[in-house]
Symmetry: none
Subunit: 197 residues, 4 copies
DNA sequence: CCCTAAACGAGACGGTACGTCCGGTCTTGAC
DNA sequence: GTCAAGACCGGACGTACCGTCTCGTTTAGGG
């Protein structure tokens, strides 16, 4: 019926798949999302263009996949739990601030955000595969704090996470203010005060 | 000698300028940022491509300008001040939530965000011309609340705004949760609790 | 040593061979030489591409072979010999004209010619396998006429054949004039006058 | 309505047109018709592909045009007329044989023939622009011979030309025999005998 | 009669060129 | 001198085939 003949994944070349994802990652880092072309990815990967079009529906999907592949090996992340939620949150938030400030993450991270803004499907994948697992780990730590009576028992943990991370995310995305350790601390203060028992 | 001859703005055709911005706005609404082309804008506006390249440096600049033009007429915004900061914030936040949920804003607003993520210059312009004035108005209302003893006197008002708006913004951008009046209220609660005197 | 392992013709699948040649013939008739692809031949024949590349060196060779196969069964052609060379030649030339004018021969015959123009090897094969035997039969009849004193004894029979057929061939190839029975007769007249004893 | 927007020939770049035709001629000589690509022509000519697709419908048309351009300047050809038709024909036919035997003409001439075989439109153009004028000149000389009583008065001059040239053409195209001065002479003999008064 | 090597159908692969689209520059003629 | 129009060079797009290269699956002949 349709002209869309579907390829047989069993015969897919693992070598090509990895080469494409690696090339995509490199090119995004070097040029930024907008300037990466499928032709360049194919050339860098030593792969025919058709091999890319056979397995991915769009440039965005390739590049997104290259991000997914990065965190493929990472097993269940586990956040520090010293029993002191304030100290632990400061540690984690300061680390997050440092990560956002790292120029090496800048370009690919902006590329990732550019994509999920305009593509609901990719946004869903992002939540499911990248943000989700991390959020689960964070909420696990928060639940532990709730049990320890350091956080209000009826606090909406999704909301807590948003209050902690969304301001940081927005500052980074809009470049609307400095990303300093003090800022990380300030966000922790806000959250703990708002959700204190 | 150089080819960079700068045009004389005094002779600029107002008719063309408006037609270009209107065409840009329409096309972004219809197609989304990525699918809009300069050729299409020129064709729809009944304008030569050169006329666009003469006055704008890039597609992004044209489209961004078309947003700026929208709020050109708006004089200094003034937020409600009934004396009750909680009630006023709920009003404003519920209105903001409603705006974000309006499908008519969806496409152009995502277009705008796509641009400022990748272009620091546009991001600066955005803060200066669009976000800035609105933030000033909001902070004015918060200062009034500080004077009334409803907010901690030493509260960092930029941070207050971020705690109020960034979670909402992030939910919308990532489609990571529902945008409801209850959510608006919850954010107001969080902010007021965190910055209560 | 080399990677060019030569296949064993004894194990060749007769079924595949016939299917390929039939598919080639059909496709040339339907699309013309230029638009036929090896992939299409393989698909139509229900054969893997490698099976074609294993037994033929090029698309041209396959298609040429599909012509050869047509005349495979034809045993030694024998032209009419009533004793009257003029009458016999008219008969044969009129038949040839009719054949050239038949639309069913048009496409494949032009395909055949396209190939032998650019490929000396195929041209040689053509002369040896297709044109040659027919020319021998024609020359046999001419020799009979020589013995009967109807043609100059020292006439170069290859030249006689060319004078008879080349104008017809050229008209057909270049579509430079009508192919009518009268034209056939005119060519016979010319040849007989030129090579009369 | 249609997507076929027609370009304005008045604005056509003469520089580009000439560069394309020159590049086409060179590439055909170097590679032969089949191996020439539009991309290669564009690259060699320093021209965008679209500029070719804008003005020519196909590769064949470009290459054919490059042949036409060669004979653009040539004014009315005039054949020798010493009063002796046999001597004049020998001169012309021997020259033609020499031309066909010249390797420099081989490749482009075969390219030209490949094209007109499969494309009736190009064949028509060929007859009108290239073969036609030359044939007119030849027939002029033959008419002169008729007036001088050296050729039968009622001879069909198109047929005379065919008897002279088609055998030569066919031998060259099929590589079916030697192209020698003697062969040229033989053809002249045949024609004169066939059409003698 | 089974074993095994080759030929087979299928189709993924690295490539080349296709014909189209658009970016950004340049040219023309109207105003 | 700006404008609408649009031709230009360049280059990426997504598609179609090329000829090569695995994959299992027949298949046929020699042991």
């Amino acid at each position: 019926m349709s002209s869309t003949r579907k390829p047989n994944p069993a015969r897919r070349s693992e070598r090509s798949r990895k080469a494409v994802l690696a090339a995509a990652r490199e090119l995004v880092s070097e040029l930024g999302y907008a300037k990466v072309t499928i032709e360049a990815i194919a050339a860098r990967a030593g792969v025919g263009k058709q091999t890319i079009y056979r397995w991915w529906p769009s440039k965005g999907a390739v590049i997104f996949d290259s991000f997914l592949a990065l965190s493929e090996g990472e097993e269940g992340v586990r956040l520090p739990d010293t029993g002191d939620i304030e100290a632990d949150l400061r540690t984690v938030m300061r680390a997050t601030v440092a990560e956002f400030a790292d120029p090496a993450f800048e370009t690919p991270l902006r590329a990732l955000n550019t994509q999920i803004i305009d593509d609901p499907d990719l946004a869903g994948l992002y939540r499911e595969k990248l943000a989700g697992p991390l959020d689960q780990a964070k909420k696990e730590r928060l639940r532990s704090a709730q049990r320890a009576g350091q956080l209000r028992a009826d606090a909406d943990l999704d909301l807590v996470l948003e209050v902690l991370y969304a301001p940081l995310y927005q500052r980074w995305l809009h470049r609307s203010g400095p990303l300093s350790p003090e800022y990380a601390d300030a966000l922790v203060d806000v959250a703990l005060r708002a959700f204190a028992p």
